[in-house]
Amino acid sequence: MRVSGYAGIAGWRLLLLSVMVGAAIAAATTIGESRSAADSLSVVVASAAPLVLITLAATIVLSVGDLDLSIGGGYTFYGMALLALASLGVSAPAAYVSCFALAVAIGIVQGQMIVRRRLSPLVTTLATATILFGVSLLIEHWMRLRAEGLVAVGQGGAAAIPVISRTLPESYRPIILRYAIPWALSAIILLEYWRRRTLWGLQHVAVGWNRAAAQLAGLPSAAIRTRAFLMSSILSFGSAALVISGFQRGGWDPRAGAGLELIAIMCAVIGGTRIGGGTIEPMGAALAILLWEALAHLQYVSPLVGPETQQLVIGALLLAVAIVGARSTASN
């Protein structure tokens, strides 16, 4: 089935974001300490890859007109739960499966509370995030955490496709997660396909565009919204699993995901997803998080660039998106 691209798709936005990522990479090599643009790009792509999943989680929920502030809490909790299970001697595959099941359960329960009980998404997901952060702190307090097993899974194995990491400078290799890139790319491609070529994807954005019209048209709005929270929870788990089995080498901060949900929402909106729902732009969201990481990298390699650059650039972009959005709404 061929579903045409939805009206109002902002190709220019993808182009602009690509140019900005390119500019940040170029700046890292000219004014920073990076040896080549390829080095910089490799580092940025690899470090952005797990965050892509988080951003896609926010994108999916926003596209049905809801909001998920539990993404950061979920990310923290799933990481902590994986570590706790590994520390208890549970094998890595069993720990992943258990936490995946937990993510499914939390996603469904949260979705059902918001959709069936008509609770406010903002308050409900904020409450979930707070509870999950609290449980993570409890786990850290009561358990002696070790996770060599999980690190072993992240650093090698049948599913690792080290396409990018081979090109990395030796100094960056220890922090690069080989799993993350193919997983992030797969998630983007799957979501793009789902949105552009399937009836499910179309129904998903239709619910976000006009919930009342979707109900009158007989679309299963409640199921679609619940599914969005479920997908968000699974993607948060995926991101935590990727990071904990590679980047962190066994350690985990019980506040690891604090503020991640806001970065994810910012990047989703900058990437072209409407805050009120009705559009979904996985590629745009991925490019926005890539820009976020490129600016972080620039700050890391160049003494000329301070931490304020990342905040100022992303904040200005967000404001520009809000202004353009308001203008197009007024003209409609």
């Binding site: 089935m1 009836l199 179309l202 006009n210 019209a213 009158l216 007989g218 009705g278 559009t279 409609n332």
Partner: protein, 261 residues
């Protein structure tokens, strides 16, 4: 006989199959005063809808025509559900009201509602696609639906969108009415319930709309046209009789549904 047992006589006197049957349908909005308690907005003993038929539902404004459509299709808003009782038999599915709108769609019943609820930011073709009950229907009816849409867009006024990829929001009221109709009629539903489909159309666009309906309406689908305008019913009657279909008209008055000439 228990008034809530649906008469499942599956063939009409003309040999057409039963699509939908309703029995003992009573509805009253919540908050009715003691004086109004005996008064039902809808009080319909039985209603049988068969294939290959056209039905007109007439009635003054505010008599409950739209409420009847919402009750039959399960799209009455939850806060205004009020007091509702009665049984339905849609295809092979029987049950008591309120009916789940997903069941309504699954058994092949599609409604075009009075308020122009569509998806302005999505493309015209995507709006049509959203009427499809399943992927199988898209595969089977998709090419014909797309063709109908292209032909219809080509017939619109010069200033209107000509591409199915254009946003729906670029179309005029007339164009939107056509798209809304294609969205319902193109996917092989067995029963189409059209609630005031021509309400915002000028005479020229109304003629175009009935022409489009005639083009897309395939057997064994039946149409229920809800309108306060007698001209609509005359046009439907002519369309039905020209194509050899059975035509019946009902008038909703004081909650009761009575067959009329």
């Amino acid at each position: 006989m228990n008034r809530h047992v649906v008469d499942r006589e599956t063939k009409s006197e003309t040999g057409h199959e039963l699509v939908a049957a309703v029995s003992g349908l009573r509805f009253r909005y919540p908050g009715a005063s003691a004086k109004e308690e005996g008064h039902w907005l809808l009080d319909i003993g039985s209603l049988h809808i068969h294939t290959n038929s056209a039905y007109s539902l007439l009635g003054e404004n505010m008599v409950g025509k739209t409420t009847l459509v919402r009750v039959l299709t399960g799209t009455l808003d939850a806060p205004s559900r009020g007091y509702l009782e009665g049984s339905f038999c849609y295809g092979a599915v029987t049950g008591r009201f309120p009916v789940d709108p997903r069941i309504v769609r699954r058994v092949g019943i599609c409604a075009v509602h009075q308020n122009d609820m569509m998806f302005d930011g999505l493309s015209i073709w995507e709006n049509v696609l959203l009427g499809a009950p399943s992927r199988a229907a898209v595969r089977f009816h998709g090419p014909a639906a797309r063709n109908s849409l292209r032909l219809t867009l080509a017939r619109l006024a010069n200033h209107e969108a000509r591409s199915e990829a254009s946003a729906l929001g670029t179309l005029s009221a007339g164009g939107r009415a056509m798209v809304r109709t294609i969205r319902a009629v193109a996917w092989g539903y067995r029963l189409l319930v059209l609630d005031e489909p021509t309400v915002n159309l000028d005479p020229k666009n109304r003629d175009r709309w009935f022409f489009l309906l005639g083009e897309l309406w395939t057997n064994p689908a039946s149409v229920v046209l809800v309108s306060h305008d007698p001209e609509d019913h005359t046009a439907l009657r002519n369309l039905a009789l020209r194509s050899g279909r059975v035509y019946k008209a009902f008038k909703l008055h004081d909650g009761m549904l009575n067959e009329c000439e």
